[in-house]
């Protein structure tokens, strides 16, 4: 009475096309790949954010360095140069370093 029921006619693994089905599942699984876990995704996002922020900071620093105007001679150097040469060029440099407009 309690003998097993014969389900062999329902067994999909004995079908002629089972090996083909297995190959198809393996192929599709390989193509899709295994999705990373939520924690892995968060870690990847975090790394991306850190690297991105550092990269953006370096880019901003580089851009600012490129745009920086040429260094003006200091006012004392310009004063000494003007005293030594007393010409229009050294006078203009001195006024430029003092940010004073030449109204002569």
């Amino acid at each position: 009475m309690n003998e097993p029921i014969d389900f062999s006619s329902l067994d999909p693994t004995t079908d002629a096309g089972f090996d083909q089905r297995v190959a198809e599942i393996a192929r599709r699984a390989s193509v899709k790949g295994v999705r990373p876990t939520l924690m892995t995704q968060v870690a990847m996002l975090w790394r991306f954010a850190v690297v991105g922020t550092a990269g953006a900071a370096i880019a901003c620093w580089a851009a600012a360095a490129i745009r920086q105007p040429p260094i003006q001679p200091s006012a004392s150097d310009a004063l000494l140069a003007w005293a030594a040469h007393d010409d229009d060029a050294s006078r203009a440099t001195l006024l430029g370093s003092l940010e004073v407009r030449d109204e002569r």
Partner: protein, 178 residues
């Protein structure tokens, strides 16, 4: 057979195609038993079982205990089968468009139909127990752990399921005899 299961799962996690194939070969019957218990239709059960394998492989990193891959996979299969059942119920209005086959059933197809009709008379839990035990060869301890029931309950369900199925199958035999 199950000792190397964690290793196989690890290989599949690394994208090893042969590991996907081996896991499918080992577990497809149990997955099919689960989907058939829910759906009661062999063709749908095979399709959903295949989908369950693919979903499981895609989410393989969520399987925290590779040694319990089988139970984890069965749960995915059951959820997918339940979703499929809900969708099928929604589509039931369109069932009039289905064309019934006029081909006389082959002896094998006849046996399948009788088995499916007899299975339909059982509860989902009874179907699950009898299919996993008699089709896939799970033991009562394995069934008890997978289904969250006691071994005694597993034995009881199997006994009742087999008794009802034998009754139904003998009824079909009487109906078909001239």
């Amino acid at each position: 057979m199950t000792a190397d299961l964690p290793l196989l799962v690890e290989r599949a996690r690394d994208g090893d195609s042969s590991a996907f194939a081996e896991l499918t070969r080992r577990h497809f019957r149990a997955v099919f038993a689960t989907t058939l218990a829910v759906l009661g239709n062999a063709a749908d059960a095979e399709d959903v079982a295949q989908e369950a394998m693919l979903v499981a492989f895609e989410r393989l990193n969520s399987c925290r205990e590779p040694a319990r891959f089988s139970g984890w996979l069965r749960q995915i299969a059951r959820n997918l089968a339940l979703n499929h059942l809900t969708a099928r119920k929604r589509r039931r209005d369109d069932s009039s468009q289905e064309i019934p086959s006029r081909e006389p059933p082959s002896p094998v197809a006849g046996t399948r139909q009788r088995l499916l009709a007899a299975l339909a008379k059982l509860s989902e839990r009874e179907r699950e127990v009898v299919l996993l035990h008699d089709l896939h060869g799970w033991t009562h301890p394995e069934l008890a752990e997978a289904l969250g029931i006691s071994e005694v309950m597993s034995r009881q369900l199997l006994f009742v399921a087999r008794k009802q199925m034998r009754g139904a199958l003998s009824d079909f035999a009487v109906e078909e005899s001239p």
